[in-house]
Symmetry: C3
Subunit: 344 residues, 3 copies
């Protein structure tokens, strides 16, 4: 059971309702009105709880589980312990996520505007939005309805935020337009000047950065991630992108919809990632390149030129992952042979 200081489940829900919500099929013969009180992993779930089996690696936990109900693939239904009710799905992880969200929805806005928040008189706050203590909302900023603005977050002048968006504690927003149902985790910095300057004998001269950051709907932005505003064009984060913690996104970068960017990735100025590119942790991208739709970039990869759509790449400099694996094997063999010859 989750720590009650932090979580309390909604529900209970009947198996019938959970099957509907999760898009799964209740196995024949089950009591569709039996009530489920919570979700839990296989090892910890009890008779009134729902669990799931996705990775076959956990089949033994499945067989030993005391879960009252479990979401499984069709091919695993015959491995279930006695008495467990099965909900069948081709994608148990996804179905479980949907069920878990019924028990643990995103906490709603309290609608409370703290008297110790600093909201400019010209700012507009949409109906039902919550503004926490110490939060600052600048002149002419517009916050949509049902938003939650965390404690000590700062929303700069003119910034616009769509409905049902969550701005975490201590976040800074400036020069940006943020869509609906976006989550910005604590400490993220969006809209500051990009790293643009001209060099010269008397030092560097900052190039005024005159664009914005446009964050489309349903985006997730991780804690302490930084997204610089465009230099003239905008920096754009496409709908449904997921960006993890401590990611750096430079000016004029465009992420098309549905990109997934793991932690500590860095994307240099004016790079473009087309739809649904997936990037592993600590990878880096040079500027002014294009990564084709659906490409997959391994962790720590250094991408120095364009990547074709659908490719899977790894290494520094980036290469097709098969080549990178071969290179790794080859180098390992050479080192071992060398070791043998030198007798150590």
């Amino acid at each position: 059971m989750a720590d009650p200081r932090f979580y309390s489940p909604s529900g209970p829900f009947s198996l019938r309702v959970l099957a509907e919500l999760s898009g799964s099929t209740l196995a024949a013969g089950a009591d569709s009105e039996a009530m489920i009180r919570d979700v839990a992993p296989l090892e910890r779930a009890g008779p009134e709880e729902l669990s799931f089996l996705d990775n076959p690696r956990y089949l033994s936990s499945f067989r030993d589980s005391r879960a009252g109900a479990c979401i499984v693939r069709p091919r695993h239904t015959d491995r279930s312990p006695r008495g467990m009710v099965l909900l069948v799905s081709e994608d148990p992880y996804r179905a479980y996520a949907l069920a878990a969200r019924a028990f643990y929805p995103v906490p709603p806005s309290s609608g409370w505007i703290s008297p110790s928040a600093h909201v400019a008189p010209t700012a507009e706050i949409g109906e039902g939005s919550e503004i926490s203590p110490g939060a600052v909302v600048g002149d002419h900023a517009r916050v949509g309805a049902d938003c939650r603005v965390g404690a000590n977050a700062v929303i700069g002048p003119g910034v616009e935020i769509g409905d049902a968006t969550v701005i975490g504690t201590g976040v800074s927003l400036s020069h940006c337009v943020v869509g609906a149902r976006v989550t910005v985790h604590p400490g993220a910095r969006i809209g500051q000047d990009g790293f643009g300057f001209a060099t010269g004998p008397a030092g560097y001269i900052k190039m005024p950065q005159l664009g914005r950051v446009v964050v489309h709907d349903d985006v997730e932005i991780g804690a302490n991630t930084t997204i610089d505003r465009g230099s003239g064009p905008d920096t754009e984060i496409g709908a449904g992108c997921w960006i993890d913690n401590l990611v750096q996104i430079a000016h004029n970068v465009v992420l098309e919809e549905g990109c997934v960017i793991a932690a500590q990735v860095g994307i240099s100025g004016s790079a473009k990632l087309e739809r649904r590119v997936m990037v592993g942790g600590q990878a880096g991208f040079a500027g002014h390149l294009t990564v084709g739709a659906g490409a997959r970039v391994a962790g720590k990869c250094g991408v120095t030129r364009d990547v074709p759509a659908g490719a899977t790449i790894a290494g520094m400099p980036a290469q097709p992952i098969r080549d990178w694996h071969r290179q790794t094997v080859l180098l390992g063999r050479m080192v071992r042979e060398k070791g043998k010859r030198s007798g150590d």
Copy 2:
């Protein structure tokens, strides 16, 4: 045109004034008193706007541009479209930056000290400085004139800040002395304890960190960057250094003047970068080494020993970039041959 919610240009300025400000030469026959209202990229500029051509890759945009005026190199003057007024410069990007700064100067301080800022009675705030809501200025801290301190920034006890410096929202400063005309972007952390401890059977013992961070004039420090204070000596950031987002600078590091550090670089304790070292994103430096003046370090490079002045290095471990390119080519060839022999 830039989004008027965030930007409104100064001006207009005559071509004569813009030529002067940008250090460029107005082409013969142009009406030097014609007025220009804004700057814009080639594709978007109109008849009352100034643009620039630097990279010849954009020559076709130049030929198609409707910009009223454009800063170009001498060798590109004969490629201009009809009716475009030319300002000629050997460094169009720099000249354009200077012109753009006339239209979009750094926003001046409002001189307003928010009643919801927390300024210690013993702190000194220079004339004309702005202290935003929720900002905290500690005991005996001294903020210079015409500074802007962002919302919810925290300036610790005793910290000293020079004139016309900008401290971003949510920044933390402690145990540091910051020069004039410095910009610290949101969420940067300057002056916390370095990572210094002694080991032993009963655990680690923190070594008191008794130095400071000294940030010289005209420095730019990126969002969420961290700079630890010295252990006894100071950590120093030389005049005119540019540091991007999410950079880690450990205790006792010295950056001499004019270093440029791209995002997510990490510099370990007591390393020294001499004048005008340029470092690509995600590079890392071991501690206690020296990088000679003017050296260039490629992105993701791992620098494990001293680097001579003027060298260009890449790879992990770092090596001359020519060797690194050769190694890359050689490995690629070996992998392809191996693939052929194994028939796949």
Copy 3:
């Protein structure tokens, strides 16, 4: 001498007391009641100050030092300058840290709860704890005794913090339980949602993250570091771990006691580091792997599979450091030979 704006030493202490505190032995014949006023490095220490020599590289500084007293190893006692009093220790760095902590203890809590802090009526603040301006303490949160909560830090609802813990400026804590004598440096983010979602044709669905972060006693967490809460199990940071700045720790990661994690390291979900693993800067760990006790991981290393206890690894992908050195040497030789053959 340390900058008096930031530091003022306790003391003075007699040599006898310093020998006791530091676990070192005062050399025969020294005046054990002579008073020492401060600590300082060899080059700067004067007659009333204590220094130390650990690394023999600094032997010449030792011989030239004007320090009144110095902590040294037994084998260096005969190299000391005239008039210097010696304190002998097998571990001078550690002994010096202990002495330095006597002069510069962790600043105690002022016990002041700022009237501009926002403490929920249901929160509990332990005796003697300091809550700085702009700090927010949420409903039912519990802060122990003698804690220091920095300006604009945010402690979420239900969070529990042990005694004598220091929460830096601008920190965000949620969904976490933090032990005693922990230091969380400015801007760290602890307890936000992990990066967990299910994919599907209609976009990604967030998996509710129902665990916590448990930070055990005597842990140090660096500036702007991010630690996501568990997805169901907890994310755990073992007692006495030291974590540097800008580190990413994903959901369900377990660090056993005494791990040392340098800056910008990334640890993916459900990875486990056993006791006293040491990790160099910018290293990365794939998810769901185990690193055995006492293993050492070089900077920039990419760890993609389990690591045996006590191993020392380097490279990407990670390999025994000896192999990695051989590989480096081998590649260097191949590149040089290639260069010779091609005549350049």
